[in-house]
Assembly symmetry: C2
Amino acid sequence: MFYDAVEGISRDSLAALQTERLRRSVATCLASPFYGKRLRALGLGPENFNSPDDVRKLPFTVKDDLRAGYPDGFLCQPRDAFIRLHVSSGTTGAPTAVYYTANDVDSWSHLVARCMHAVGLRRGDVFQNMSGYGLFTGGLGIHYGAERLGCLTVPAGAGNSKRQLKLLRDFGVDGVHIIPSYALHFGHFLQQEGIEPGDLKWRFALIGAEPHTERARRRIEELLGLKAFNSYGLTEMNGPGVAFECAAQAGMHVWEDAYIAEIVDPVSGEALPDGEVGELVMTTLCRDGMPLLRYRTRDLTRFIPGECACGRTHRRLDRITGRTDDMIIIKGCNVFPMQIEQALMAMPEVAPNYLIELYQENDMDQIRVKVEIQDEVFAADDRTRAALHKRLVARLRDEILVTPAVELVRRGSIPPAEGKAVRVDDRRVHEDCRSGA
Amino acid sequence: MFYDAVEGISRDSLAALQTERLRRSVATCLASPFYGKRLRALGLGPENFNSPDDVRKLPFTVKDDLRAGYPDGFLCQPRDAFIRLHVSSGTTGAPTAVYYTANDVDSWSHLVARCMHAVGLRRGDVFQNMSGYGLFTGGLGIHYGAERLGCLTVPAGAGNSKRQLKLLRDFGVDGVHIIPSYALHFGHFLQQEGIEPGDLKWRFALIGAEPHTERARRRIEELLGLKAFNSYGLTEMNGPGVAFECAAQAGMHVWEDAYIAEIVDPVSGEALPDGEVGELVMTTLCRDGMPLLRYRTRDLTRFIPGECACGRTHRRLDRITGRTDDMIIIKGCNVFPMQIEQALMAMPEVAPNYLIELYQENDMDQIRVKVEIQDEVFAADDRTRAALHKRLVARLRDEILVTPAVELVRRGSIPPAEGKAVRVDDRRVHEDCRSGA
């Protein structure tokens, strides 16, 4: 039933395992330039950690710490122990790097294989990886996991829908990895090709790397004719394979044998009770090369209270509802793009693409939402469109507490993204930008 | 000195090893739909193979056999034994597929690691893979080999020169994998950025996947300030890692413990003596999932006679001088694009890009070579350019025995290819095309 026995471990045994591994991680971290200094300054060593909750004795690690430690300030092993690195960013901005030893790649692959097994994929199934490779951890991460599980892995890479379709058919693909915006795009491509959702053999899609709503997931399932499973990961915690839905599709089990997950108040940093939304903070328990202690993911989510029907004992994360740093402040309200997506996707007249534009008028910040609508609605009379427009404005205002300008546009007029979708176009010029700060 | 002991094996022991493995390959092949039928029809089994030369008892396997056997007519194991497949072609044309078991991926990775070790890379070196991933075997093939060797592998992927440069600098990269046309392009990018060849730490480039001349290799070495090593591979034989140069840069050792390599007359199919150019034919000796027997690679090359200074006993292949199927027949002469490249690259006035155009005039096939020339020559007076033009025409005529039209163009006017360079633009319309045959 499970890929490995630890999936059904009792909570008591899990706490003991976490404690042992937390101690080991702290011991390992003493060798890193960054943590070595920090731990010694605090007088903390492995002996100070006697329960998983003792992780709170540690200060947070933030993205800026990783930036300051670039390229190699977090390494705990000699250079020749490492066989891989991934980098988070391109030529601009301050990049961060994550390094992996052979053991790290091995345990990462194991976790990904466990995730794929949890959704129902098995050895011998055919699996097509429809995401880009290279520095994006979603490519190689899922690839290694699929091979580890024993799937016949088709490294299709991103884009080229026509070839993707040929591969899906020729090899009788059972499951795919695809990012949500491309999944929606590919669904429309299939419609154009006259392919019905049931024509393909596939049964499973792993979707991740982009925030998306429950409604978007159900659309993907309808369009593609399969079950779509949410995946959570971030490069700082290896990449994909951190938390994954099981067949119950009721939240993502975070692998607590490999990570300590906390939900904290993003302002005070205090722990929040199960069920409350806050910032996810993670500590690696199985990384030799570059452990991270209490890393603030900036992702907002909550633990789903209660037990899962599948029998796994690892707690479930709810879908990511936003990021602490993509919050838009407009007219004094805190708005998360995900709230807007959620409101739009609940309306069947809305086509999958939209764009949030932020601009200034009379020195005031303004928000406009461009929304693609279904062809039949777009072709309808003015009154029908005006009514839809009114409903959309009201719905969005209810959700974000600000009245946005709304523009209805023809389907296909917002360029579809084959990579991570860019949903916010911020044209505001602020004082601190003008001065070059 | 060697990555593994078999690199220095005596020829006698090698013959015994090849014979044993050839028998095993034939035995494995009996389970494949294609070979099972063929071998039984010929009454051949493992017992008929008592020396490596007995491979000649087998008929050739050609690309069209693989096409006819698509998608799975060559598999020798149950479906659930396979963990990877690569496909040779896109949406048009008849594709071919190569499948790998976990053992096959393992032995492939071992061979690639051996190649990288042979050029001088070592565990702990930093290695940037600057080629595309996905279905192209050059990406994952080199990646797995680099990790196997224990290099710190940076999966940069193709393109984005600015980011490539940042990675090369930030991580002190020692070696890269790069396709020759992109290496030349990247060299010019470095010049534009004001970077001298010696400014970067890198020492090794593995170049392959595209035919290129010795002159092109030396240009790459000068532009990049490193040693560039030729690599030979093809998806049907796994991908990269079939034959590789050692530090001596005097031909590519073909790993004869993993392959039986033959050079045959492309017309008669008869074996040619060492030193003569013919078509390379290969038999896999270490593949469980999809062995191929006497596969005609369509690549033209020769064995380099004599022993290599490095002490490796595996014979060396000369660089690929053309393909049996990219030969252009023009005015009754057989012309290989590589001959034209060779002639052009020998002239310092020529910039790295060129294009061969084939067209028709008065119902006759014509050839025109567009040649990018260095800026200072392009900016010179008419007389200088006319003199260069005359020398180029004469040089090409001497090489291909046909007088081509030659057009000198400004550097940068032929779009640089970041993928495999397309050097021939064939605009001829032949009768059999017109009729749709």
